[in-house]
Amino acid sequence: MGPFLFAGSLARRRRHRAVCSCRGFALVLPLPLRRPKAYSMTEQRKAVALISGGLDSMLAARLILEQGIHVEGINFFTGFCVEGHTHAIRNHHRQKPKRNNALWVAEELGIKLHIIDVIEEYKDIVISPKHGYGANLNPCLDCKAFMVGKASAWMGQNDFDFIITGEVIGQRPKSQRRDTMPLVARESGAFDRLLRPLCAKLLPPTLPEREGWVQREKLLGLNGRNRKPQIRLAARFGIDDYAQPAGGCCFLTDRSYANKLSDFWQARGDKSYELDDIMLLKVGRHLRPRAHFKLIVGRDEGENNFLSGYRRQYPHLYPTSHKGALVLLTGKANSDDLQLAARLTARFSQGRDAARVSIAVCDADGHQQTLTVRPLTPNEIPPHWYL
């Protein structure tokens, strides 16, 4: 079968890919390449697409697939990603489909997806971003350069030709501006092998465009925060049911989460963290009654179960005379603090209006004592205790 443009449904295209060995229509010429490699005139070009799970990266990959390029997705797990965790943990999310949006996008597009664990390397980006933070603790510009850099390394190791992202000029005030686009390309080391199909027409031609691997005129020139063009394009491609994240791709853009992370760093005395620390910030009510200790209070059975997995790492409290929350205690607490923690635990139990509630107080080694306390009243909990 000769050159073929996939104008039909995704499913039709997937079926086509399953039965046909067509190599796409990109004719290529010998190139000045960074990587020495012998190309033939009909060689299938390969692009690695950063797939966040949102609409833009999905559309960008789809536009390039339409040009007959072999596309595979890459997705980075930083530990801060807004994905299945909270859905899996909280009771009221249990009825929602627990899909991973990046996997869903890959399946819809009919492409492979490589999910890469970057938890350790990403710490430097969050802790000391060269370009600073956005509105909260989101180091978007450093993050983008980091991720494109990782994709660039992957491209080299796997013999791919270029990278695509779903960036749109002007979409985000800090990280997706006309002047930050070349910065990301430069700092990532991807240079002109980084193609942004959604706004390519507003940027200088990249290597894949100059060499004719992709046709520039079929790329887009989207600009600004208006989402209507993307929504129209999605409709044209028959894509619905896509994820619409409210803020960004991760918890670092969330004000409440950023407050908890700042508090965590302040209490710790330095800006370091382990995966468990940042996971716990996603779960429960967080209260800091004193500078030297904090309580994490499960809000439902799902969160209590999740927190109970940390019982051997942290002191914890739970009511024994009534039903109620499991509470983890982080930091150091003396006997007065434990009394206060017990009264707070009682407050978050079904005995909140009782005269006395019995609370089991356990240390991480399994030693247990029972305190019988009067629950705190709402007026006795200053708002600033809530993080």
């Binding site: 299945g84 899996a88 899909r99 991973n100 996997l103 399946e107 492979k112 999910i115």
Partner: protein, 74 residues
């Protein structure tokens, strides 16, 4: 055909998928992998990952404290 096991209990998605992905690169086609996990999200994510990467989920069962997903390497 060899049967392998991967303990992904207490890991939250997508970590079970990442661990499966890493393990699968070391296994020959036709072998099977039993993945033990506790995050119910894995019931969706691991089969989705298998579908797009050419592997087959041949069994899923729920035990008292965890889920076992058996994958045949494609």
């Amino acid at each position: 055909m060899t049967r392998h096991e991967l303990d992904a209990r207490r890991l939250l998605c997508p970590l079970p998928v990442i661990r499966v992905q890493e393990k699968m690169t070391t296994l020959p086609s036709g072998d099977t992998l039993d993945v033990l996990c506790t995050d119910p999200g894995a019931l969706n994510d691991i089969p989705a990952w298998c579908r797009i990467n050419g592997h087959k989920v041949i069994d899923t069962r729920t035990e008292e404290h965890h889920i076992i997903i058996t994958i045949e390497v494609g």
